[in-house]
Amino acid sequence: MDHQVLTAVLFLAVVALTVVLVVWASRQSSGAADFYAGGRGFSGFQNGLAIGGDYMSAASFLGISGIIALSGYDGFLYSIGFLVAWLVALLLVAEMLRNSGRYTMADQLAYRMRQRPVRQAAAISTVVVSIFYLLAQMVGAGALVGLLLGVSGDAAKNITILGVGLLMVFYVTVGGMKGTTYVQIVKAFLLMVGSALIVVLVLAKFDFNLSDLLGTAASNSGKGQAFLEPGLKYGISETSKLDFLSLGIALVLGTAGLPHILIRFYTVPTARDARKSVLWAIGLIGVFYLFTLVLGFGAAALLSSEKYADVAASGGNLASPLLAEAVGGGDGSVGGAVLLALIAAVAFATILAVVAGLTLASSTSVAHDIYNSVIKRGQATEKDELKVARLAAVAIGIVAIVLAIPAKNLNVAFLVGLAFAVAASANLPAIVYNMFWRRFNTRGALWSIYGGLISSVGLVIFSPVVSGKGLDPTGKNLSLLPTSIDISWFPLENPGIVSIPLGFLLGYLGTISKREPSAEERYTELEVRALTGAGSEKAVSH
């Protein structure tokens, strides 16, 4: 049986299912609260699933298991950082944001500061983070779908990028937050069930003895015990160790500043439901990242040397799909073809759910913050604002497609780490200061958002990911720019270790250099509302 035909059929099934759900969701949506926040009517459990669907990207599913398959233990940092990060969201952000905002990240800043400048800053940061993340997902999708369907070449990648772009615009413009949420719930379910199945099959091969699995992975990888120890990927030099630390900090502090995650807290009726959704999300995401550990070590342990070389050639992305094929019975078997197609379809659903969430977050911010507050000074009608939100989704889709097509053969995996670094440097300081520091004001918010944004993006431009890394032994360019251009002077690939403290410092300096009595007075109101829910936005009843 040909797995490519089956894969294509399952891809179409995923598309058909999500399109039907989104059209169905659109029939229950009417106003702005429905479009932006799903009517605030989802339960904590539903939203927990959707958060998982929004958060666990193809970069986690295929990327982390791939890094573990190739570099062993060092890939585990991603799993741990991505999970521990949720404690920041649980303890400091989710509930207070739910009580004090309406639709976007900017709402809770605008509550006590000068509306237009802070909304503009927060919207710019939202769009930048979302576009970086979106680009990484779309370029990844282009490479992946071709690989999984067995078609290579630029045309296949272009068609995939275009198709994913059109689908995400469709989900968002037609289904709004409700439609996007259903897509994310379906994806979370498929991802958990699909990966649990492979994990059980892998562990069964070792009679559920973890030590045997690790031992076989270590010896098959050709690296011995070093494969199970930290340092294989990041322990090469003091610079790479600092990079590891920088990445670790960006991962743990970035999550609670990602706009597409933040807006999910508005989709539930109360702060207590927001808390419940994060608790469910922590459970799901935690179990999933334990799965990635088994998938990664499983791929190293069970794949033939030929298939393992294919994994290495794909940068790790093929580890999980090829592992599924191996535990299903191997190349050419029916079981192998079925499981490979299944995992490929899960990966595809994963990409669709994440890009839809990103498109929604950025178009919401463009319409609600920029169009209504900055341009129309809060006087736009709801109908006009929603029209702009849909147009913005189309525009963001076009920008993402136009940027992703020329970038399709470039190594853009660093964009995910960068999105986390920008979120942690530009967004998190403002959110945390705003909730916990009475004196925090407009200038502090602007300095921390713009300072964190410019420093994190700026440092990456002058880092080895953009230029100066040279060629690898196979002649592949390791940086973004051609090797003839070298503008690098910042040694680390992830800017977090510099830009995150800088974001916090600038927020502090901006605040203490100017007094803004109205922001301090209204802090009382913000804090009461954030902690008690008094006067917070209610769910829409139809």
Binding site: V84, L87, D212, G231, G248, V278, G378, G535
Partner: protein
């Protein structure tokens, strides 16, 4: 109907000032901050300790515990355990110690606003 227009100048409502001075609210804030601030410091330090040990104590981290399971893997898995545990503790703490106060304050607000 609460005024939720995006223009903050229309929002100021003296009811919040009175609530902020109430004993219930002061206690709610004290309990909330008393839990989340130390907890945040604790989990961040514990996480950074893991990253630092991975980087600069490879000998210690590669000590084998049982079979092929080494200290690095145990500490990594413990990060999962502590994350789940802290999430559970916060959930219990907030339902028992925060929610009753928050609900009472919100009810007072609703009664005063006549909704």
């Amino acid at each position: 109907m609460t005024d939720t227009s995006p223009d903050r100048t229309e929002r100021h409502d003296p009811v919040y000032d009175r609530m902020a001075e109430s004993a219930d609210f002061i206690e709610l804030r004290r309990r909330y901050r008393g839990f989340v601030l130390p907890a945040t410091v604790a989990f961040l330090v514990w996480y950074l300790l893991y990253v630092v040990l991975s980087n600069w104590a490879p000998g210690f981290m590669s000590t084998q515990v049982v079979g092929n399971v080494n200290i690095a893997l145990v500490i990594g898995l413990l990060q999962f355990v502590t994350t789940f545990l802290l999430a559970y503790l916060y959930s219990r703490f907030s339902s028992a110690r925060l929610d009753p106060l928050a609900e009472r304050l919100e009810a007072e607000y609703t009664a005063e606003k006549g909704r």
